[in-house]
């Protein structure tokens, strides 16, 4: 269990190290934009109303499934910066055990200087996204603990 939590922290640290290479906000954002552009995050067919996390600023679709005891997330957004940050979230949280996801504190977003993206009003899509990812993990955790 401890090992799994450590796994998320290790991935967070990798991102922190990666971002520490950028001197100014411009490079940081250009990197996020490229992260947003590079990933086909979700299948078009999955962009349905029930997977949509509504926010005032941008729309986010989030999908989760459980495979071999690990949660696999895919997501998309209509805004590229949001998409880039989602890419970061997914690279940290996807393919991890539900319990580790539930307990992740995700302080890396703050540490790489993107705290404003976690403020509730600034991008409610992102805050809702983290919440939704944890809710999925919690649901899978309950499912694993109480197999029908």
């Amino acid at each position: 269990m401890v090992g799994t939590v450590g796994n998320i922290e290790r991935k967070e640290q990798e991102i922190i190290d990666e971002f520490s290479l950028f001197d100014d906000w411009m490079d940081k954002y250009e990197h996020i934009i490229s992260l947003g552009k590079e990933l086909p995050l979700i299948e078009e067919g999955l962009k349905t109303e029930d997977l949509l996390i509504k926010g005032c600023q941008s729309r986010v679709w989030l999908h989760a499934k459980l495979e071999n005891g690990k949660v696999i997330f895919t997501a998309d957004s209509d805004a590229i910066i949001t998409k880039g940050i989602i890419n970061l979230l997914i690279s940290v949280l996807s393919n991890e055990e539900p319990d580790a996801i539930v307990n992740a504190d995700l302080s890396f977003i703050d540490q790489i200087g993107l705290k404003e993206h976690l403020s509730p009003t600034r991008s409610n899509g992102l805050v809702s996204m983290v919440k939704q990812m944890k809710l999925y993990a919690l649901a899978f955790k309950t499912q694993l603990n109480n197999p029908s």
């Binding site: 411009m26 954002y29 934009i33 600023q57 209509d78 910066i81 949001t82 404003e116």
Partner: protein, 408 residues
């Protein structure tokens, strides 16, 4: 009156917030449609109340209460003069535009509207002038009808006339659209409605700081606005209503100033305007509104209107040259804002990068989702101007947008 203040640098110097930096850059505040910044005089008026007069109004015999009451009631008279209401008791303090609309919907509307009746609004209303009417219609089994707008963002007067019928009981119109900038021909529309004896309410939230409002000349039945968009504090606004209508209306909320006499058997209600002012009001806010009116008067609407129109024209002329930029809202009569989308770049992305450059614009649907649906955009980028904005800031905005384009 002293000489009018028409020097932009002198005007800017009155706004302490304009001196601050955002993300290491001088702040360029172009989100005045959401709320405007406050001059030192407004901030001082609020501080002065808390420092020297703080006490509850209308109920104390002591000096502080009398001073505070006088200061607060003076503002009512000031507002009366500001919008040229016939009586000061036609000026009701509310929590803001939304509070005023809800008051009218819940008191006037509740009494007036029956099953099958119709209420008219326009397709460019913001949510505050949609939802209270929807709620009323749901309660009463009435029907909300929507006056369509053109691709330029203008009301179709012929369609408006066609929508008015024997069942139309009330019309609620936005004076200036917050997402398109359109100035609606409300005088003409009020006259058309009154020819059929239909009362009209005007949402002036986005108009009051751009255009002088004369409620008697307009002959509107209700007019609502907020202090915070006109250089005043948040949490306070005004509902103007014609005396005879307000007199006929039942109180909306109970308690405090709205009461004349209470026994457990029966309560009699206070007279206008206090009938609609339940509870302890936002006293400091009201006093701040008074200072905001003084500020606007010290500059004058001629200068404000002209300066903002010039900024708007300049912004349009500069932004027009940006490839892939499309304006949303191109009405002939528009107030000081530009709303646009950039091809292939989400408004949110644009807003984030502009913020990094110290430029505050509004992005998103501006609480007018139906307008966004109509123009088939997820939202827009909106730069809305106030009297303290400059052409240099517009140039910085244009440079910012060019930078955004290079990044995506």
């Amino acid at each position: 009156m002293s000489e009018l203040l028409t020097d932009i640098e002198a005007i800017r110097a009155q706004f302490p917030i304009l001196k601050r930096e955002v993300n290491g850059k001088p702040l360029i505040y172009l989100d005045n449609g959401a709320t405007s910044q406050k001059p030192q005089s407004v901030i001082d008026a609020i501080s002065h109340y808390y420092e020297y007069e703080n006490s509850n109004i209308h109920r104390g015999v002591h000096t502080l209460s009398q001073d505070a009451t006088a200061a607060y009631e003076d503002v009512r008279k000031k507002v009366q003069k500001f919008i040229n209401a016939k009586y000061d008791h036609e000026v009701i303090f509310t929590s803001g535009t939304t509070g005023g609309i809800n008051l009218v919907a819940s008191s006037f509307g509740e009494n007036l509207v029956r099953k099958g009746d119709e209420i008219l609004i326009t397709a460019m209303e913001h949510h505050s002038n949609i939802v209270p009417w929807q709620m009323l219609c749901e309660r009463k089994g009435a029907i909300l009808k929507v006056i369509p707008i053109s691709k330029e963002g203008e009301i179709d007067i012929e369609e408006f006339k066609k929508l008015i019928g024997p069942k139309t009981e009330l019309i609620s119109l936005v004076h200036v659209s917050n997402s398109l900038g359109t100035i609606n021909p409300i005088k003409e529309m009020i006259d058309i409605a009154h020819a059929q004896n239909i009362p009209v309410m005007i949402d002036g939230a986005q108009a009051i700081h751009h255009i002088p409002v004369d409620v008697q000349e307009l002959d509107c039945d209700f007019y609502v606005f907020s202090a915070h968009k006109m250089y005043g504090p948040t949490g306070v606004g005004i509902l103007y209503g014609k005396e005879e209508l307000l007199n006929d209306m039942a109180p909306w909320q109970g308690g405090g100033d709205m009461i004349k006499n209470v026994t457990f058997e029966k309560t009699t209600y206070n007279e206008l305007p206090h009938k609609f002012e339940a509870g302890t009001p936002n006293i400091a806010g009201g006093i701040g509104l008074g200072a905001a009116i003084d500020f606007i008067n010290s500059i004058g609407y001629d200068f404000i209107g002209e300066h903002e129109a010039e900024l708007s024209r300049f912004a349009v002329s500069q932004l027009r040259d940006i490839k892939g930029l499309r304006f949303i809202g191109t009405a002939k009569e528009r107030a000081g804002l530009v709303s646009f989308v950039l091809d292939g770049i989400h408004p949110y992305d644009t807003g984030v990068i502009l913020d990094k450059l110290g430029i505050a614009v509004r992005t998103g649907h501006h609480c007018t989702q139906p307008v966004m649906n109509f123009f088939e955009v997820p939202g827009t980028v909106r730069a809305s101007f106030a009297v303290y904005n400059t052409k240099q800031e517009v140039i910085r905005l244009v440079e910012g947008i060019e930078r955004v384009k290079r990044m995506f």
